[in-house]
Amino acid sequence: MAPLVVRREDWLNLGVVFFLAVALAQSWNVIGGLAGQVNLGHAAFFGLGALVARQLWAAGTPIAAAMTAGAAVATTAGLALGLAAFRLRGAYFAIGTLALAEVLRLFVANNLSQVSTLPAAAIAGYQLGVRYYTAAGLALGTTLAVGWLAASRLGLAMEAVREDEEAAEASGVGGFQVKLAALACSTALVGLAGGVFAFYQISYYPQHPFNPTWTFDAVLITFIGGVGTIHGPVLGAMLFVLLRDYLAVRWADLHVLVFGALFVAIVLLLPGGLVEVGQRLRGRPGVAGRGRVVGRASSGSST
């Protein structure tokens, strides 16, 4: 509803950036927060979604179909990655996915090095309002998806796998299938986000959405907001985008330093992120129940 009251384009652009950040973070939250698998190849699926959507849209497909196709390709790639990578556990999965994402990025950078620009007609008819609503819908959709998943049986299975995969398997939860399902959901959502990016951005290098920075941003936002929670990534995204914008003029890139430091502090001291801060301020213990975060990673036990 903002375009109705706000005419300033920079606020709308900031809004789109914020919604994209929410979508990126929430989609990562599914695999990293709910299922507890640190997937550092997230940008690869964002990039694939953007790539496919852009190519199809440029060829004349209506944007909605193009975005859906982008999400579909991203999901397929996600399943392929899962099949290959889920033999790896924990940190090895993380660096393995990072390596594969880098391979894909290099491939795209080498084969599609030309900048991708919208044709003049499309630029003339560019409506920021439409983009704004699309991005808003995306952000809302991903948040609702995470909320629905967290409350569902599958979400429960994911959390079981996150906490202790072997115990979950002993209880009859198929670890591999659950992780694969989580990855499929995650990549579908981020592929859609890629499509929105392709819809929004007038010109960019095709390898740009494959850049690992998108992954790192998603991870930072999710952890700082509260990994595994539903509103955590939204809070994190808000802080991230505002801080980045605020610091951008005089202290460009310093927001990464601030966030990196915050991230380390949160991982070590306050694993619940901003959500936990909120809960503690309200007097609740903050670590039990549905708002639960990364499991034993920071519980300090030495078994």
Partner: protein, 290 residues
Amino acid sequence: MTALAQQLLLGVLLGGLYGLAAAGLSLVFGVLRVLNVAHGELIMLGGYGAFWLFDLFGLDPFLSLLVVMPLAGALGGLLYAGLFAYVVRLGEEPRIRTSLLVGFGLALCLHALAVRLFTADERAITTTYAGRGIPLGAIVLPIGRLVSLAVAVLLILLLDAFLQRTRWGQAIRAAAEDWEAAALQGIDVRRAYTLAFAIGTALAGAAGVLVATGYSVSPAIGLEWTLKALIVVVLAGLGSALGTFAGGVVLGCAEALSAALFGGAYREVVGLLLFFCVLVARPQGFFGRP
């Protein structure tokens, strides 16, 4: 044919650097079971150290090793005390995952700091002997990189000797094998860990100096070198400094071959794919512990 031989030679020279870069990471991972993904950033900082010493004081990069390495070691000690000391208190699996996250955050911070302080421009050290080479038949041996290889080999041999022959080296190895037993023997495990981390960082600093000399340094090389070091650690396995060095040379040659066959653009790809395949072929993780 000579082009291929030249490429392979350069690959070996680069591979020596890979080995050195990986040695520090391997030591830290082997001893502390901590995956410090900020290792590449530490290499980058070492490179900048060498660059600034050269730029401001005209200190020859090979001499600046004597300054950069102790400074890097001190930084490593601080990083351990400030960050990783908390991480090593966790159990096995959460330790590796948390160290990954902490290292990740640290890497971002160091990268942003470097961009802020040094700008994102690439820097290179051009010494008087930089461009010269020794002709060997049809191929040329670049002097700078040859000396770098020699330094790398020397450092690896020193590391190996330290770990095998000195008391603290044995203490570190004992702590790596079984820290509880080591503690029961009277070994100060915390100190051993700090020392191991400091040495690992010092080696990273040394690798950085050599990278700045033979190639160039910019904030962006951090991630690149972290991946390289990880690849070599996975290829070579843990437990042997010499083995890690050999792994580095293998990677260097593999990259050189792929560059010769498929063109320079896919140089990195072969390493990353090799990395992934080895990781997957051993599903129990890095050369699974018995």
